[in-house]
Amino acid sequence: MNINNKTSQSAGIKITNNWFAILVSLLFLLFPLVIKNNYFIDVAFFFGIYTLLGLSLNIVLGEVGLFDLGHMGFAAIGAYTTAILNTSFGIPIFVLLPISAIAAAIFAYLVTSPIIHLRGDYLCIVTIGMGEIVRLTLINNPFGITGGPNGVFGIDFPSIGNLLIIDNSVKFYYFIWVAVGLTVLALIHLQDSRIGRAWNCIREDIIAAEASGIDVRYYKLLAFVLGAALAGVAGSIYASKLMIVSPESFSFMESCMLFCIVLIGGMGSIPGIFIGAAAISLFPEIFQTFAQYRMLIFGAALVLMMMFRPGGVWPRKRGKLSTESMLIKAGKSEI
Protein backbone atom coordinates (compact mmCIF):
# COMPACT_ATOMS: atom_id res chain seq x y z
CA MET A 1 0.00 0.00 0.00
CA ASN A 2 2.67 2.42 0.96
CA ILE A 3 4.05 2.72 -2.49
CA ASN A 4 0.92 2.66 -4.50
CA ASN A 5 -0.42 6.03 -3.54
CA LYS A 6 1.69 7.94 -6.00
CA THR A 7 1.05 5.62 -8.86
CA SER A 8 -2.56 5.18 -7.98
CA GLN A 9 -3.12 8.89 -8.11
CA SER A 10 -1.59 9.24 -11.50
CA ALA A 11 -3.58 6.33 -12.83
CA GLY A 12 -6.77 7.79 -11.50
CA ILE A 13 -7.61 4.87 -9.30
CA LYS A 14 -10.27 5.15 -6.76
CA ILE A 15 -10.26 2.68 -3.97
CA THR A 16 -13.08 4.67 -2.67
CA ASN A 17 -11.62 8.09 -2.55
CA ASN A 18 -8.09 8.98 -3.34
CA TRP A 19 -7.53 10.85 -0.15
CA PHE A 20 -8.56 7.85 1.83
CA ALA A 21 -6.10 5.63 -0.04
CA ILE A 22 -3.35 8.15 0.55
CA LEU A 23 -4.16 8.32 4.22
CA VAL A 24 -4.07 4.56 4.58
CA SER A 25 -0.84 4.32 2.61
CA LEU A 26 0.74 6.96 4.78
CA LEU A 27 -0.36 5.07 7.85
CA PHE A 28 1.33 1.95 6.59
CA LEU A 29 4.43 3.88 5.62
CA LEU A 30 4.84 5.53 8.97
CA PHE A 31 3.77 2.67 11.18
CA PRO A 32 7.21 1.16 11.88
CA LEU A 33 8.72 4.59 12.34
CA VAL A 34 6.24 5.45 15.04
CA ILE A 35 5.72 2.07 16.61
CA LYS A 36 9.15 0.87 17.50
CA ASN A 37 8.07 -2.37 19.10
CA ASN A 38 9.29 -5.32 17.03
CA TYR A 39 6.44 -7.49 18.13
CA PHE A 40 3.88 -5.12 16.71
CA ILE A 41 5.90 -4.75 13.53
CA ASP A 42 6.02 -8.51 13.18
CA VAL A 43 2.32 -8.74 13.77
CA ALA A 44 1.92 -6.18 11.02
CA PHE A 45 4.22 -8.27 8.84
CA PHE A 46 1.99 -11.30 9.20
CA PHE A 47 -0.96 -9.07 8.61
CA GLY A 48 0.77 -8.27 5.31
CA ILE A 49 1.33 -11.94 4.53
CA TYR A 50 -2.31 -12.68 5.14
CA THR A 51 -3.30 -9.71 3.05
CA LEU A 52 -1.23 -11.02 0.17
CA LEU A 53 -2.66 -14.50 0.60
CA GLY A 54 -6.12 -13.03 0.87
CA LEU A 55 -5.63 -11.06 -2.32
CA SER A 56 -4.45 -14.19 -4.08
CA LEU A 57 -7.46 -16.18 -2.95
CA ASN A 58 -9.70 -13.28 -3.77
CA ILE A 59 -8.90 -13.75 -7.44
CA VAL A 60 -10.15 -17.31 -7.35
CA LEU A 61 -12.91 -17.03 -4.80
CA GLY A 62 -13.91 -13.39 -4.86
CA GLU A 63 -13.66 -12.60 -8.54
CA VAL A 64 -14.54 -15.92 -10.13
CA GLY A 65 -16.53 -17.44 -7.32
CA LEU A 66 -14.59 -20.69 -7.31
CA PHE A 67 -14.89 -22.42 -4.00
CA ASP A 68 -11.23 -22.89 -3.04
CA LEU A 69 -10.51 -24.33 0.38
CA GLY A 70 -7.02 -25.58 -0.33
CA HIS A 71 -5.30 -22.38 -1.24
CA MET A 72 -2.55 -22.84 1.31
CA GLY A 73 -1.36 -25.72 -0.83
CA PHE A 74 -0.20 -23.21 -3.43
CA ALA A 75 1.53 -21.12 -0.79
CA ALA A 76 3.22 -24.30 0.38
CA ILE A 77 4.56 -25.00 -3.08
CA GLY A 78 6.00 -21.48 -3.22
CA ALA A 79 7.45 -21.68 0.26
CA TYR A 80 9.06 -25.07 -0.28
CA THR A 81 10.43 -24.11 -3.67
CA THR A 82 12.18 -21.20 -2.04
CA ALA A 83 13.29 -23.23 0.94
CA ILE A 84 14.66 -26.18 -0.97
CA LEU A 85 16.37 -24.25 -3.74
CA ASN A 86 17.86 -21.78 -1.30
CA THR A 87 19.15 -24.27 1.22
CA SER A 88 20.39 -26.80 -1.33
CA PHE A 89 21.78 -24.54 -4.02
CA GLY A 90 22.14 -21.21 -2.30
CA ILE A 91 20.06 -19.39 -4.89
CA PRO A 92 19.23 -15.94 -3.53
CA ILE A 93 15.69 -15.28 -2.35
CA PHE A 94 15.04 -12.46 -4.78
CA VAL A 95 15.74 -14.84 -7.66
CA LEU A 96 13.56 -17.47 -6.06
CA LEU A 97 10.62 -15.14 -5.64
CA PRO A 98 9.55 -15.35 -9.30
CA ILE A 99 10.62 -18.99 -9.50
CA SER A 100 8.37 -19.84 -6.58
CA ALA A 101 5.54 -17.99 -8.20
CA ILE A 102 6.02 -19.93 -11.40
CA ALA A 103 6.33 -23.23 -9.58
CA ALA A 104 3.08 -22.63 -7.74
CA ALA A 105 1.42 -21.50 -10.95
CA ILE A 106 2.51 -24.58 -12.86
CA PHE A 107 1.37 -26.77 -10.04
CA ALA A 108 -1.99 -25.03 -10.00
CA TYR A 109 -2.33 -25.47 -13.72
CA LEU A 110 -1.53 -29.16 -13.59
CA VAL A 111 -3.84 -30.02 -10.73
CA THR A 112 -6.77 -27.82 -11.60
CA SER A 113 -7.00 -28.35 -15.32
CA PRO A 114 -8.59 -31.80 -15.12
CA ILE A 115 -11.14 -30.70 -12.52
CA ILE A 116 -11.85 -27.17 -13.53
CA HIS A 117 -15.28 -28.05 -14.89
CA LEU A 118 -16.54 -29.18 -11.50
CA ARG A 119 -19.19 -27.06 -9.89
CA GLY A 120 -19.28 -25.43 -6.48
CA ASP A 121 -18.91 -27.83 -3.65
CA TYR A 122 -17.36 -30.53 -5.77
CA LEU A 123 -14.58 -28.18 -6.73
CA CYS A 124 -14.35 -27.26 -3.08
CA ILE A 125 -13.60 -30.79 -1.95
CA VAL A 126 -11.07 -31.22 -4.72
CA THR A 127 -9.22 -28.12 -3.60
CA ILE A 128 -9.34 -29.38 -0.03
CA GLY A 129 -8.00 -32.68 -1.26
CA MET A 130 -5.32 -30.92 -3.25
CA GLY A 131 -4.22 -28.93 -0.20
CA GLU A 132 -4.16 -32.05 1.92
CA ILE A 133 -2.24 -34.00 -0.69
CA VAL A 134 0.40 -31.29 -0.71
CA ARG A 135 0.64 -31.19 3.05
CA LEU A 136 0.73 -34.96 3.48
CA THR A 137 3.30 -35.34 0.77
CA LEU A 138 5.48 -32.74 2.43
CA ILE A 139 5.22 -34.55 5.74
CA ASN A 140 6.23 -37.81 4.15
CA ASN A 141 9.43 -36.34 2.87
CA PRO A 142 9.43 -37.60 -0.73
CA PHE A 143 12.96 -38.20 -2.04
CA GLY A 144 14.21 -36.74 1.23
CA ILE A 145 13.88 -33.18 0.01
CA THR A 146 11.12 -31.69 2.12
CA GLY A 147 12.54 -32.57 5.50
CA GLY A 148 9.37 -34.37 6.52
CA PRO A 149 7.64 -33.04 9.60
CA ASN A 150 10.68 -30.99 10.57
CA GLY A 151 10.49 -29.02 7.38
CA VAL A 152 13.39 -27.25 5.75
CA PHE A 153 15.38 -24.79 7.75
CA GLY A 154 18.26 -22.42 7.49
CA ILE A 155 16.74 -20.30 4.74
CA ASP A 156 18.62 -17.09 3.94
CA PHE A 157 17.38 -13.57 4.32
CA PRO A 158 16.47 -11.89 1.05
CA SER A 159 19.39 -9.83 -0.15
CA ILE A 160 20.85 -8.17 -3.20
CA GLY A 161 24.57 -8.57 -2.73
CA ASN A 162 25.47 -6.32 0.17
CA LEU A 163 23.33 -3.52 -1.12
CA LEU A 164 20.14 -4.58 0.51
CA ILE A 165 19.78 -7.23 3.13
CA ILE A 166 16.37 -7.74 4.56
CA ASP A 167 17.25 -9.02 7.96
CA ASN A 168 15.12 -7.29 10.55
CA SER A 169 11.48 -6.84 11.34
CA VAL A 170 11.24 -3.35 9.91
CA LYS A 171 12.79 -4.30 6.58
CA PHE A 172 10.58 -7.35 6.32
CA TYR A 173 7.65 -5.14 7.09
CA TYR A 174 8.42 -2.88 4.16
CA PHE A 175 9.24 -5.85 1.97
CA ILE A 176 5.83 -7.46 2.41
CA TRP A 177 3.90 -4.24 2.19
CA VAL A 178 5.63 -3.19 -1.00
CA ALA A 179 4.66 -6.55 -2.42
CA VAL A 180 1.09 -6.02 -1.24
CA GLY A 181 1.03 -2.52 -2.69
CA LEU A 182 2.18 -3.69 -6.10
CA THR A 183 -0.30 -6.51 -6.04
CA VAL A 184 -3.15 -4.22 -5.14
CA LEU A 185 -2.23 -1.97 -8.02
CA ALA A 186 -2.18 -4.85 -10.47
CA LEU A 187 -5.44 -6.25 -9.18
CA ILE A 188 -7.22 -2.94 -9.37
CA HIS A 189 -6.14 -2.72 -12.98
CA LEU A 190 -7.37 -6.22 -13.61
CA GLN A 191 -10.71 -5.67 -11.94
CA ASP A 192 -11.73 -3.12 -14.51
CA SER A 193 -10.36 -4.88 -17.55
CA ARG A 194 -12.02 -7.36 -19.82
CA ILE A 195 -10.32 -10.09 -17.82
CA GLY A 196 -11.78 -8.92 -14.54
CA ARG A 197 -15.17 -8.62 -16.17
CA ALA A 198 -14.89 -12.08 -17.64
CA TRP A 199 -14.11 -13.45 -14.18
CA ASN A 200 -17.11 -11.70 -12.67
CA CYS A 201 -19.34 -12.92 -15.46
CA ILE A 202 -18.34 -16.49 -14.71
CA ARG A 203 -19.16 -15.92 -11.09
CA GLU A 204 -22.56 -14.50 -11.92
CA ASP A 205 -23.69 -17.01 -14.53
CA ILE A 206 -21.46 -19.56 -16.18
CA ILE A 207 -23.76 -20.40 -19.05
CA ALA A 208 -24.42 -16.79 -19.92
CA ALA A 209 -20.70 -16.14 -19.71
CA GLU A 210 -19.97 -18.91 -22.18
CA ALA A 211 -22.68 -17.68 -24.47
CA SER A 212 -21.19 -14.21 -24.28
CA GLY A 213 -17.98 -15.49 -25.76
CA ILE A 214 -15.98 -16.02 -22.63
CA ASP A 215 -13.79 -19.08 -22.61
CA VAL A 216 -14.84 -20.16 -19.17
CA ARG A 217 -12.29 -22.89 -18.82
CA TYR A 218 -9.43 -20.59 -19.76
CA TYR A 219 -10.44 -17.83 -17.39
CA LYS A 220 -11.04 -20.17 -14.51
CA LEU A 221 -7.61 -21.65 -15.04
CA LEU A 222 -6.12 -18.20 -15.37
CA ALA A 223 -7.58 -17.25 -12.01
CA PHE A 224 -6.17 -20.35 -10.39
CA VAL A 225 -2.78 -19.86 -11.98
CA LEU A 226 -2.60 -16.20 -11.05
CA GLY A 227 -3.94 -16.80 -7.57
CA ALA A 228 -1.46 -19.62 -7.06
CA ALA A 229 1.43 -17.51 -8.32
CA LEU A 230 0.61 -14.79 -5.83
CA ALA A 231 0.20 -17.33 -3.06
CA GLY A 232 3.58 -18.71 -4.12
CA VAL A 233 5.13 -15.28 -3.65
CA ALA A 234 3.54 -14.98 -0.24
CA GLY A 235 4.86 -18.43 0.65
CA SER A 236 8.31 -17.49 -0.52
CA ILE A 237 8.41 -14.33 1.60
CA TYR A 238 7.01 -16.25 4.50
CA ALA A 239 9.79 -18.82 4.20
CA SER A 240 12.53 -16.24 4.17
CA LYS A 241 11.05 -14.46 7.16
CA LEU A 242 10.72 -17.52 9.37
CA MET A 243 13.83 -19.15 7.91
CA ILE A 244 11.98 -22.45 8.19
CA VAL A 245 9.10 -24.01 6.37
CA SER A 246 7.22 -26.91 7.81
CA PRO A 247 3.99 -28.63 6.88
CA GLU A 248 1.88 -27.46 9.80
CA SER A 249 1.94 -23.92 8.45
CA PHE A 250 -0.10 -25.03 5.47
CA SER A 251 -2.92 -26.92 7.09
CA PHE A 252 -6.53 -27.10 6.03
CA MET A 253 -7.38 -24.79 8.90
CA GLU A 254 -5.12 -22.12 7.43
CA SER A 255 -6.86 -22.44 4.08
CA CYS A 256 -10.14 -21.96 5.91
CA MET A 257 -8.78 -18.80 7.45
CA LEU A 258 -7.95 -17.43 4.02
CA PHE A 259 -11.47 -18.22 2.98
CA CYS A 260 -12.71 -16.22 5.94
CA ILE A 261 -10.50 -13.28 4.98
CA VAL A 262 -12.19 -12.98 1.62
CA LEU A 263 -15.69 -13.25 3.02
CA ILE A 264 -15.20 -11.05 6.05
CA GLY A 265 -14.03 -8.28 3.78
CA GLY A 266 -16.53 -8.89 1.02
CA MET A 267 -16.17 -11.02 -2.10
CA GLY A 268 -14.10 -9.35 -4.77
CA SER A 269 -13.41 -6.29 -2.68
CA ILE A 270 -9.79 -5.26 -2.39
CA PRO A 271 -10.17 -2.95 0.60
CA GLY A 272 -12.24 -5.74 2.09
CA ILE A 273 -9.24 -8.05 1.97
CA PHE A 274 -7.30 -5.68 4.19
CA ILE A 275 -10.09 -5.76 6.72
CA GLY A 276 -10.45 -9.52 6.52
CA ALA A 277 -6.72 -10.08 6.86
CA ALA A 278 -6.60 -7.70 9.79
CA ALA A 279 -9.40 -9.60 11.48
CA ILE A 280 -7.78 -12.97 10.96
CA SER A 281 -4.23 -12.01 11.84
CA LEU A 282 -4.80 -9.42 14.53
CA PHE A 283 -7.67 -10.97 16.48
CA PRO A 284 -5.73 -13.95 17.80
CA GLU A 285 -2.92 -11.65 18.88
CA ILE A 286 -5.22 -9.21 20.58
CA PHE A 287 -6.80 -12.07 22.43
CA GLN A 288 -3.47 -13.54 23.56
CA THR A 289 -4.34 -12.56 27.11
CA PHE A 290 -7.24 -14.98 27.09
CA ALA A 291 -4.85 -17.88 26.51
CA GLN A 292 -6.92 -21.05 26.08
CA TYR A 293 -10.07 -19.07 25.56
CA ARG A 294 -8.78 -17.07 22.66
CA MET A 295 -9.84 -19.44 19.90
CA LEU A 296 -13.19 -19.78 21.58
CA ILE A 297 -13.62 -16.04 21.30
CA PHE A 298 -12.27 -16.04 17.80
CA GLY A 299 -14.85 -18.59 16.68
CA ALA A 300 -17.65 -16.60 18.22
CA ALA A 301 -16.32 -13.44 16.61
CA LEU A 302 -16.44 -15.04 13.18
CA VAL A 303 -20.09 -15.90 13.68
CA LEU A 304 -20.92 -12.44 14.94
CA MET A 305 -19.12 -10.79 12.08
CA MET A 306 -21.14 -12.74 9.54
CA MET A 307 -24.32 -12.06 11.44
CA PHE A 308 -23.89 -8.34 11.28
CA ARG A 309 -22.12 -7.95 7.96
CA PRO A 310 -23.04 -10.98 5.87
CA GLY A 311 -22.01 -9.27 2.66
CA GLY A 312 -18.65 -8.42 4.13
CA VAL A 313 -17.44 -5.39 6.00
CA TRP A 314 -16.50 -3.52 2.87
CA PRO A 315 -18.26 -5.08 -0.11
CA ARG A 316 -17.25 -4.12 -3.59
CA LYS A 317 -19.41 -1.37 -4.95
CA ARG A 318 -20.25 -1.32 -8.58
CA GLY A 319 -21.20 1.70 -10.54
CA LYS A 320 -18.96 3.99 -12.46
CA LEU A 321 -15.90 2.20 -13.72
CA SER A 322 -12.62 3.18 -12.18
CA THR A 323 -11.19 3.42 -15.66
CA GLU A 324 -13.61 6.03 -16.75
CA SER A 325 -11.85 9.22 -15.70
CA MET A 326 -8.68 7.86 -17.23
CA LEU A 327 -10.43 6.87 -20.40
CA ILE A 328 -11.70 10.32 -21.00
CA LYS A 329 -8.17 11.61 -20.71
CA ALA A 330 -6.74 8.93 -22.91
CA GLY A 331 -9.55 9.34 -25.36
CA LYS A 332 -8.94 13.02 -25.73
CA SER A 333 -5.27 12.66 -26.43
CA GLU A 334 -5.96 9.89 -28.86
CA ILE A 335 -8.65 11.25 -31.08
Binding site: S193, N200, I207, A211, S212, G213, D215, L327
Partner: protein
Protein backbone atom coordinates in the same frame (compact mmCIF):
# COMPACT_ATOMS: atom_id res chain seq x y z
CA UNK B 1 -50.63 -38.12 -41.91
CA UNK B 2 -46.92 -38.67 -42.28
CA UNK B 3 -47.08 -38.18 -46.01
CA UNK B 4 -48.93 -35.04 -45.56
CA UNK B 5 -46.13 -33.58 -43.43
CA UNK B 6 -43.48 -34.40 -45.96
CA UNK B 7 -45.49 -33.12 -48.79
CA UNK B 8 -46.05 -29.96 -46.97
CA UNK B 9 -42.42 -29.63 -46.02
CA UNK B 10 -41.19 -30.15 -49.56
CA UNK B 11 -43.52 -27.65 -50.99
CA UNK B 12 -42.48 -24.96 -48.59
CA UNK B 13 -38.72 -25.50 -48.77
CA UNK B 14 -38.76 -25.05 -52.50
CA UNK B 15 -40.16 -21.61 -52.06
CA UNK B 16 -37.00 -20.06 -50.62
CA UNK B 17 -33.87 -19.41 -52.56
CA UNK B 18 -31.90 -16.88 -50.65
CA UNK B 19 -28.41 -16.96 -49.18
CA UNK B 20 -28.35 -19.32 -46.20
CA UNK B 21 -26.38 -18.30 -43.08
CA UNK B 22 -27.27 -21.14 -40.81
CA UNK B 23 -28.08 -24.65 -41.82
CA UNK B 24 -28.64 -27.76 -39.77
CA UNK B 25 -28.53 -31.21 -41.16
CA UNK B 26 -30.44 -34.01 -39.45
CA UNK B 27 -29.78 -32.50 -36.06
CA UNK B 28 -30.65 -34.88 -33.25
CA UNK B 29 -30.46 -34.53 -29.49
CA UNK B 30 -31.56 -37.07 -26.94
CA UNK B 31 -32.06 -36.84 -23.22
CA UNK B 32 -32.03 -40.36 -21.90
CA UNK B 33 -34.83 -42.05 -23.76
CA UNK B 34 -36.39 -38.82 -24.93
CA UNK B 35 -35.60 -37.59 -28.41
CA UNK B 36 -35.91 -33.88 -27.82
CA UNK B 37 -34.72 -32.93 -31.29
CA UNK B 38 -35.28 -35.42 -34.05
CA UNK B 39 -33.43 -35.02 -37.35
CA UNK B 40 -34.12 -31.37 -37.76
CA UNK B 41 -33.15 -29.67 -41.00
CA UNK B 42 -33.20 -25.95 -40.66
CA UNK B 43 -32.22 -23.20 -43.05
CA UNK B 44 -31.94 -19.60 -42.00
CA UNK B 45 -31.70 -16.99 -44.72
CA UNK B 46 -29.46 -14.02 -44.45
CA UNK B 47 -30.90 -10.67 -43.51
CA UNK B 48 -34.30 -12.07 -42.60
CA UNK B 49 -36.22 -12.82 -39.45
CA UNK B 50 -37.00 -16.51 -39.09
CA UNK B 51 -39.08 -17.97 -36.31
CA UNK B 52 -39.45 -21.34 -34.75
CA UNK B 53 -42.76 -22.08 -33.16
CA UNK B 54 -44.21 -25.18 -31.66
CA UNK B 55 -45.88 -26.53 -28.57
CA UNK B 56 -44.12 -26.57 -25.24
CA UNK B 57 -41.51 -29.25 -25.11
CA UNK B 58 -41.28 -29.47 -28.88
CA UNK B 59 -37.52 -29.06 -28.66
CA UNK B 60 -37.15 -25.49 -29.85
CA UNK B 61 -34.92 -24.32 -27.04
CA UNK B 62 -32.93 -27.50 -27.39
CA UNK B 63 -32.23 -26.69 -31.03
CA UNK B 64 -30.89 -23.32 -29.91
CA UNK B 65 -28.85 -24.89 -27.18
CA UNK B 66 -27.25 -27.28 -29.63
CA UNK B 67 -26.56 -24.60 -32.21
CA UNK B 68 -24.94 -22.36 -29.62
CA UNK B 69 -22.80 -25.16 -28.26
CA UNK B 70 -24.41 -25.49 -24.86
CA UNK B 71 -25.48 -29.04 -25.62
CA UNK B 72 -23.52 -31.39 -27.83
CA UNK B 73 -25.67 -33.02 -30.51
CA UNK B 74 -26.08 -36.78 -30.65
CA UNK B 75 -26.28 -36.76 -34.38
CA UNK B 76 -26.21 -34.42 -37.38
CA UNK B 77 -24.18 -31.40 -38.33
CA UNK B 78 -24.73 -27.71 -38.50
CA UNK B 79 -23.08 -25.07 -40.59
CA UNK B 80 -22.71 -21.36 -40.19
CA UNK B 81 -21.87 -19.32 -43.28
CA UNK B 82 -20.90 -22.54 -44.98
CA UNK B 83 -18.47 -23.54 -42.24
CA UNK B 84 -19.08 -26.58 -40.12
CA UNK B 85 -19.47 -25.52 -36.51
CA UNK B 86 -20.64 -28.78 -34.97
CA UNK B 87 -19.16 -29.57 -31.56
CA UNK B 88 -17.65 -26.16 -31.01
CA UNK B 89 -17.81 -24.67 -27.53
CA UNK B 90 -20.28 -21.86 -26.83
CA UNK B 91 -17.62 -19.17 -26.73
CA UNK B 92 -16.23 -20.36 -30.05
CA UNK B 93 -19.66 -20.25 -31.58
CA UNK B 94 -20.06 -16.70 -30.41
CA UNK B 95 -16.74 -15.77 -31.96
CA UNK B 96 -18.03 -17.16 -35.24
CA UNK B 97 -20.84 -14.64 -35.05
CA UNK B 98 -23.85 -16.24 -33.40
CA UNK B 99 -25.14 -14.51 -30.29
CA UNK B 100 -28.16 -15.47 -28.24
CA UNK B 101 -30.53 -14.68 -25.40
CA UNK B 102 -32.17 -17.14 -23.06
CA UNK B 103 -35.70 -18.21 -22.40
CA UNK B 104 -35.20 -17.50 -18.71
CA UNK B 105 -33.23 -14.28 -18.68
CA UNK B 106 -29.62 -14.91 -17.77
CA UNK B 107 -27.91 -11.67 -16.97
CA UNK B 108 -24.85 -11.00 -14.86
CA UNK B 109 -27.14 -9.84 -12.14
CA UNK B 110 -24.60 -8.38 -9.76
CA UNK B 111 -22.91 -6.29 -12.42
CA UNK B 112 -24.01 -2.99 -13.86
CA UNK B 113 -25.92 -2.77 -17.11
CA UNK B 114 -22.91 -1.18 -18.76
CA UNK B 115 -20.64 -3.98 -17.59
CA UNK B 116 -23.12 -6.52 -18.85
CA UNK B 117 -23.00 -5.10 -22.32
CA UNK B 118 -19.25 -4.60 -22.20
CA UNK B 119 -18.91 -8.28 -21.33
CA UNK B 120 -20.77 -9.09 -24.50
CA UNK B 121 -17.79 -7.80 -26.44
CA UNK B 122 -15.37 -10.13 -24.80
CA UNK B 123 -14.78 -12.12 -27.93
CA UNK B 124 -14.31 -8.97 -30.00
CA UNK B 125 -11.46 -7.70 -27.84
CA UNK B 126 -8.14 -9.24 -27.06
CA UNK B 127 -6.07 -7.46 -24.39
CA UNK B 128 -4.28 -10.13 -22.44
CA UNK B 129 -3.19 -10.38 -18.89
CA UNK B 130 -0.02 -8.26 -19.01
CA UNK B 131 -1.44 -5.30 -20.90
CA UNK B 132 -4.30 -5.33 -18.44
CA UNK B 133 -2.13 -5.48 -15.36
CA UNK B 134 0.12 -2.68 -16.57
CA UNK B 135 -2.72 -0.84 -18.25
CA UNK B 136 -0.75 -0.36 -21.43
CA UNK B 137 -2.02 2.23 -23.91
CA UNK B 138 -3.25 -0.46 -26.26
CA UNK B 139 -5.42 -1.88 -23.53
CA UNK B 140 -6.72 1.51 -22.47
CA UNK B 141 -7.67 2.27 -26.00
CA UNK B 142 -9.45 -1.01 -26.43
CA UNK B 143 -11.34 -0.52 -23.19
CA UNK B 144 -12.49 2.83 -24.41
CA UNK B 145 -13.79 1.31 -27.62
CA UNK B 146 -15.54 -1.42 -25.71
CA UNK B 147 -17.22 1.15 -23.57
CA UNK B 148 -18.25 3.29 -26.49
CA UNK B 149 -19.85 0.39 -28.28
CA UNK B 150 -21.54 -0.70 -25.09
CA UNK B 151 -23.01 2.71 -24.53
CA UNK B 152 -24.25 2.80 -28.07
CA UNK B 153 -25.99 -0.53 -27.66
CA UNK B 154 -27.50 0.56 -24.38
CA UNK B 155 -28.85 3.62 -26.06
CA UNK B 156 -30.25 1.53 -28.85
CA UNK B 157 -32.35 -0.48 -26.39
CA UNK B 158 -33.21 2.62 -24.42
CA UNK B 159 -31.28 1.84 -21.28
CA UNK B 160 -28.71 4.64 -21.26
CA UNK B 161 -30.16 6.04 -18.08
CA UNK B 162 -29.65 2.79 -16.26
CA UNK B 163 -26.08 2.11 -17.23
CA UNK B 164 -24.67 2.25 -13.71
CA UNK B 165 -27.51 0.31 -12.18
CA UNK B 166 -27.10 -3.34 -11.31
CA UNK B 167 -28.79 -5.57 -13.83
CA UNK B 168 -30.90 -7.22 -11.15
CA UNK B 169 -32.37 -3.89 -10.13
CA UNK B 170 -33.94 -2.92 -13.43
CA UNK B 171 -37.45 -3.83 -14.51
CA UNK B 172 -38.14 -7.19 -16.08
CA UNK B 173 -38.87 -5.83 -19.51
CA UNK B 174 -35.67 -3.82 -19.36
CA UNK B 175 -33.78 -6.94 -18.42
CA UNK B 176 -34.99 -8.60 -21.61
CA UNK B 177 -33.77 -5.64 -23.60
CA UNK B 178 -30.47 -5.60 -21.73
CA UNK B 179 -29.94 -9.23 -22.62
CA UNK B 180 -30.52 -8.39 -26.26
CA UNK B 181 -28.10 -5.47 -26.00
CA UNK B 182 -25.49 -7.77 -24.55
CA UNK B 183 -25.93 -10.19 -27.41
CA UNK B 184 -25.77 -7.37 -29.93
CA UNK B 185 -22.57 -6.05 -28.37
CA UNK B 186 -20.65 -8.93 -29.88
CA UNK B 187 -21.69 -7.61 -33.26
CA UNK B 188 -23.16 -10.91 -34.38
CA UNK B 189 -24.17 -11.97 -37.86
CA UNK B 190 -26.92 -14.09 -36.44
CA UNK B 191 -28.95 -13.14 -33.39
CA UNK B 192 -30.88 -15.92 -31.71
CA UNK B 193 -33.69 -14.93 -29.37
CA UNK B 194 -35.54 -17.42 -27.20
CA UNK B 195 -39.03 -16.12 -26.48
CA UNK B 196 -38.08 -12.47 -26.31
CA UNK B 197 -41.64 -11.38 -25.63
CA UNK B 198 -42.27 -13.82 -22.85
CA UNK B 199 -43.41 -11.96 -19.79
CA UNK B 200 -44.05 -8.76 -21.70
CA UNK B 201 -47.54 -7.37 -22.01
CA UNK B 202 -49.10 -6.66 -25.37
CA UNK B 203 -47.89 -3.10 -25.39
CA UNK B 204 -44.35 -4.05 -24.61
CA UNK B 205 -44.46 -6.83 -27.17
CA UNK B 206 -45.41 -4.34 -29.77
CA UNK B 207 -42.43 -2.20 -28.84
CA UNK B 208 -40.27 -5.25 -29.18
CA UNK B 209 -41.60 -5.97 -32.63
CA UNK B 210 -40.82 -2.44 -33.71
CA UNK B 211 -37.35 -2.74 -32.25
CA UNK B 212 -36.64 -5.98 -34.10
CA UNK B 213 -37.96 -4.53 -37.33
CA UNK B 214 -35.48 -1.66 -36.93
CA UNK B 215 -32.70 -4.01 -35.99
CA UNK B 216 -33.02 -6.17 -39.05
CA UNK B 217 -32.05 -3.20 -41.12
CA UNK B 218 -28.51 -3.60 -39.76
CA UNK B 219 -26.44 -6.26 -41.45
CA UNK B 220 -27.97 -8.96 -39.32
CA UNK B 221 -30.03 -12.11 -39.35
CA UNK B 222 -32.50 -12.98 -36.61
CA UNK B 223 -33.77 -16.35 -35.54
CA UNK B 224 -36.31 -16.46 -32.78
CA UNK B 225 -38.58 -18.71 -30.82
CA UNK B 226 -41.95 -17.28 -29.97
CA UNK B 227 -45.29 -18.27 -28.60
CA UNK B 228 -46.89 -14.91 -29.11
CA UNK B 229 -48.50 -15.19 -32.53
CA UNK B 230 -48.89 -11.44 -32.71
CA UNK B 231 -45.13 -11.15 -32.64
CA UNK B 232 -44.44 -14.11 -34.88
CA UNK B 233 -46.85 -13.14 -37.55
CA UNK B 234 -45.94 -9.52 -37.31
CA UNK B 235 -42.28 -9.83 -38.13
CA UNK B 236 -41.28 -13.23 -39.43
CA UNK B 237 -40.21 -13.79 -42.98
CA UNK B 238 -40.11 -17.49 -42.46
CA UNK B 239 -41.63 -19.76 -39.83
CA UNK B 240 -40.63 -23.28 -38.89
CA UNK B 241 -42.98 -25.35 -36.79
CA UNK B 242 -41.74 -28.10 -34.53
CA UNK B 243 -43.59 -30.71 -32.61
CA UNK B 244 -42.21 -33.54 -30.53
CA UNK B 245 -38.72 -32.87 -31.79
CA UNK B 246 -39.68 -32.99 -35.45
CA UNK B 247 -40.25 -30.34 -37.99
CA UNK B 248 -43.90 -30.51 -38.96
CA UNK B 249 -44.15 -27.54 -41.22
CA UNK B 250 -42.43 -24.45 -42.50
CA UNK B 251 -43.17 -21.58 -44.76
CA UNK B 252 -44.22 -18.02 -44.92
CA UNK B 253 -46.20 -16.93 -41.85
CA UNK B 254 -49.54 -16.91 -43.57
CA UNK B 255 -48.96 -20.39 -45.04
CA UNK B 256 -48.04 -21.80 -41.70
CA UNK B 257 -50.86 -20.05 -39.97
CA UNK B 258 -53.38 -21.70 -42.15
CA UNK B 259 -51.76 -25.09 -42.20
CA UNK B 260 -54.21 -27.52 -40.61
CA UNK B 261 -51.43 -29.61 -39.13
CA UNK B 262 -50.07 -26.58 -37.35
CA UNK B 263 -53.47 -25.58 -36.19
CA UNK B 264 -54.09 -28.96 -34.76
CA UNK B 265 -50.73 -29.30 -33.06
CA UNK B 266 -50.16 -25.80 -31.97
CA UNK B 267 -52.54 -22.98 -32.64
CA UNK B 268 -55.80 -24.58 -31.79
CA UNK B 269 -59.10 -23.52 -33.17
CA UNK B 270 -59.75 -19.84 -32.76
CA UNK B 271 -62.64 -19.14 -30.53
CA UNK B 272 -64.91 -16.24 -30.85
CA UNK B 273 -64.35 -14.85 -27.38
CA UNK B 274 -62.08 -12.10 -28.57
CA UNK B 275 -64.40 -9.86 -30.37
Amino acid sequence: MKNQIEENGNKTISSIDREIVLETNKLTKRFGGLVAVNQIDLKVSKGKISSIIGPNGAGKTTVFNVITGIYQPDDGQYFFKGEKISNLKPHQILSKGIARTFQNIRLFKGMTCLENVMSGQHARSKSGIWPSIFRLPSQTLEEKKIQEIAERRLKQVGLSDHKYELAKNIAYGSQRMLEIARALASNPDLLILDEPSSGLNDKESEDLVNFLNELIKEDLTILLIEHDMNVVMGISDWVTVMDEGKKIAEGKPEEVYSNPIVIEAYLGKEEEEEN
